[in-house]
Each structure stands twice: as C-alpha cells, then as structure tokens.
C-alpha cells in the first residue's frame, strides 16, 4: 500500500464498488419480472450488511461529513454499530415474514440459499 494512487480504470473496481452502483443505484424502473417488494428490501439490507461495513444509507453520508463535523470517529463507530444491529433485527423480521408468505413449492427442499 505504499503506492499513493491506484488508478483503476474499468477492471480495477472492486466488488463493493460495482455492487454499490449496479444494485443500489442506476435507474430503478419496473420490469415485467417483479421481484417482490419484500424481497428487494430484504436483499438491499443483506447487501448493505455485506457491501458496507455499516449502513446509514442516505443520511449517513450527509450526517457524517456535513451535519455534524464534530462527531468523533469513536462516536460514529458506536452509532454505526447500533444501526447495524437495527438492520439485523429488520432482516430477521423480514425473513420471518418471507417464510410465512412464501409458497412452499417455490422452495427447493434442502437447497441452501445464502
């Protein structure tokens, strides 16, 4: 990591760079094939937990840098940890709801989904 700049045109983008753009940004427009709203929220939360070390979604960027410049790294880390915990809880909720609503024949028995 001594090289100060790693110009990475095209192929140099890491997986997180690509996922945060391709999944979370871009034009959101209804296709004919609809992934249920519940599934989209579920996926988005899961990905935020994986893609971002913390999720504060939109307000995070703003709060972090503009609204409260006095917020220390440590306070921030604590806050983000709490946000992560909230997301985990919501994820569990959604998964329970999903399990209730999903028609059993849609699920291949024994198939691992991660």
């Amino acid at each position: 990591m001594n090289a100060p700049l790693t110009p990475a045109p095209g192929g140099g983008a890491n997986l997180a760079d690509i996922l945060e753009r391709v999944l979370d940004k871009g034009v959101v427009i209804a296709g004919d094939i609809r992934v249920e709203l519940l599934d989209i929220e579920l996926l988005t939360i899961k990905l935020r937990l994986v893609v971002a070390s913390v999720d504060k979604a939109k307000e995070m960027g703003i709060d972090w840098w503009e609204s409260d410049p006095a917020l220390s790294s440590r306070a921030r880390t604590r806050e983000l940890g709490a946000e992560n915990a909230r997301l985990q809880a919501r994820l569990a909720e959604l998964e329970n709801a999903g399990a209730r609503h999903a028609p059993p024949e849609d699920q291949e028995p024994g198939k691992e989904t991660r």
């Binding site: 100060p4 700049l5 110009p7 997986l15 997180a16 760079d17 307000e59 840098w65």
Partner: protein, 264 residues
C-alpha cells in the same frame, strides 16, 4: 409468446444510431449478445436471457448467492461500460430489470420516456469518478516525533498507565488527522465536480483493502474535465500518505450515482 426467453435490460440511451458497433463485442449476464431496442427516441440495451435463470423464482434465489451476484453485476457493468464508451450519455438500469419481450420494454420506454429524457439531458456528457480514502497500515505512515524510539521498559504501574494514556492520545490524534485529511480531500474534489454522493464505507471482505475506509465518494464530472479531475486526485494522493491515508480512484463510470436527484 416466447416463454423460454426473457429480455434483460442494461441501460437506456438516446437513440443516436451508432451503438450497434460498440455492442458487437460485448456479451451480457447470460453470455448473450446485446442489442438496442428503440422506441420514442430512446434506445434500451437488452439481451435475451433464459427464463429459467431470470424469472421471479430464479431471481429470488440467485440474488441471495454472492457468487451469482458478482458474476451478474460484473457482466451488467461490462455492458454499461461498453455503451458508455460509445454514447454521450448512458443511464444504467438497476441490476435484474427484466421484461417478458420487446413489447414490454418498448412500453416502459414510452411510459417513462419523459423522465428518462430529462435524466439523459441532465447527465449528458458527464462521467462519474469514484474516490476512496483508506487508512494506511501504521508502518506505512510517516513516523511522528517519537514513533521511531523503542518504547521505554515498563518499570511500574504508573509507567504502564502513563504509556496507556499516551497510546490513547496518539490514537485519537491519528483518528483526527485521518478524518481531517478525508474531509479536506472531499472538499477539494467537490469544487471540481458538478455533484457528489457519499457512500457508506466499504466492508473489507468485499473491497479486500486492509485499511479502514474513511471516505467513499462519487463525483460527477464533465467528460472534458476528466483529466483535470484525475490530475487533482493524483496530486492529493501524493500528499495523502503524510496524513496516514491512501487514495484510490475508480472510473470513469456511467453516472450511476446521479441518475436520481440528490436526497433532500
């Protein structure tokens, strides 16, 4: 109606004609050729994909699979990249925007035409650049006044507490220095961009970066001002290790982060 194939849409651009060539060499998420579907002065770039892999049930399962997600996201990005190299402006669609057939896709272009044309006009001739700032491993950071000296041996409880306090102070100072460096860098680059977006820091599991990600930002820059922007990033990156941070540049991207207006 063809039930074995669906149409996966990647991006929308103005129907300016010449995209065919740019798309000849690129393949889509299912290895399929990509073509332009034209309607209402717009062109949607799309390719036929097997229904078995991209209908509702298949997508629901696949989206949970990080390996599938990576392959698909990279392929999606490749198509958008190829189009962005050939067209003045490309609006990337979100991953997994799938239609039953060309009629469905055309209907979308008609219904959303006004909105899409407005976005194309707003972003015409602009690119997105990504800049991330990471903390450098402690050894790579330049030494502070006393960092070179070996620690004094601990002789007493008071020595120990004193050293702990000194370590805490050093750590706090480093954190402040890193925060300050990231803020300054972002403020400087923002003056060279028309718009900016801040992303949450990345998870090292996906970025494979050992340092802490302290800035993850996107900048909207007119294409002809790209060199000016990247030169500025290079200059900032040269100075950054003195503040204990490294800088990484990605791009130019299609303006993914800017297709929707800034959050209020």
């Amino acid at each position: 109606m063809n039930t074995t194939e669906l149409l996966y849409a990647y991006a929308v651009t103005q129907d300016a004609g010449d995209l065919g060539e740019a798309l000849e060499t690129v393949t889509g998420v299912a290895g399929e050729p990509v073509r332009a579907v034209r309607q209402a002065g717009l062109a949607a770039l799309a390719g036929p994909v097997p229904a078995a892999g991209f209908d509702e049930a298949a997508l629901r399962a696949s989206l949970e699979d990080l390996g599938w997600l990576e392959r698909t996201a990279r392929a999606h990005q490749r198509v958008v990249d190829a189009a962005a190299a050939a067209a003045p402006c490309v609006l990337p669609l979100r991953l997994a925007t799938v239609y039953r057939d060309e009629d469905g896709l055309r209907r979308m272009l008609t219904e959303r035409g006004q909105h899409l044309r407005a976005a194309l006009g707003r972003l015409d001739g602009r690119c997105e650049w990504g800049v991330k700032v990471y903390t450098l491993p402690p050894r790579a950071a330049p030494a502070g006044p006393s960092a070179g000296a070996p620690p004094a041996p601990v002789r007493s409880g008071r020595d120990y507490l004193r050293r702990r306090a000194a370590e805490r102070t050093t750590r706090r100072e480093e954190e402040q220095r890193v925060d300050e460096a990231a803020r300054t860098l972002h403020a400087t680059l923002a003056t060279l961009a028309e718009d900016t977006r801040l992303y949450p820091p990345q998870n090292p599991r996906l970025s494979r970066q050992p340092g802490r990600n302290v800035l993850n930002a996107a900048y909207l820059v007119p294409r002809e001002q790209g060199p000016r922007f990247t030169d500025a990033v290079a200059r900032l990156a040269e100075a950054a290790p003195a503040d204990g941070v490294g800088v990484e540049l990605t791009g130019p991207w299609a303006p993914y982060s800017f297709v929707t207006p800034a959050p209020p």
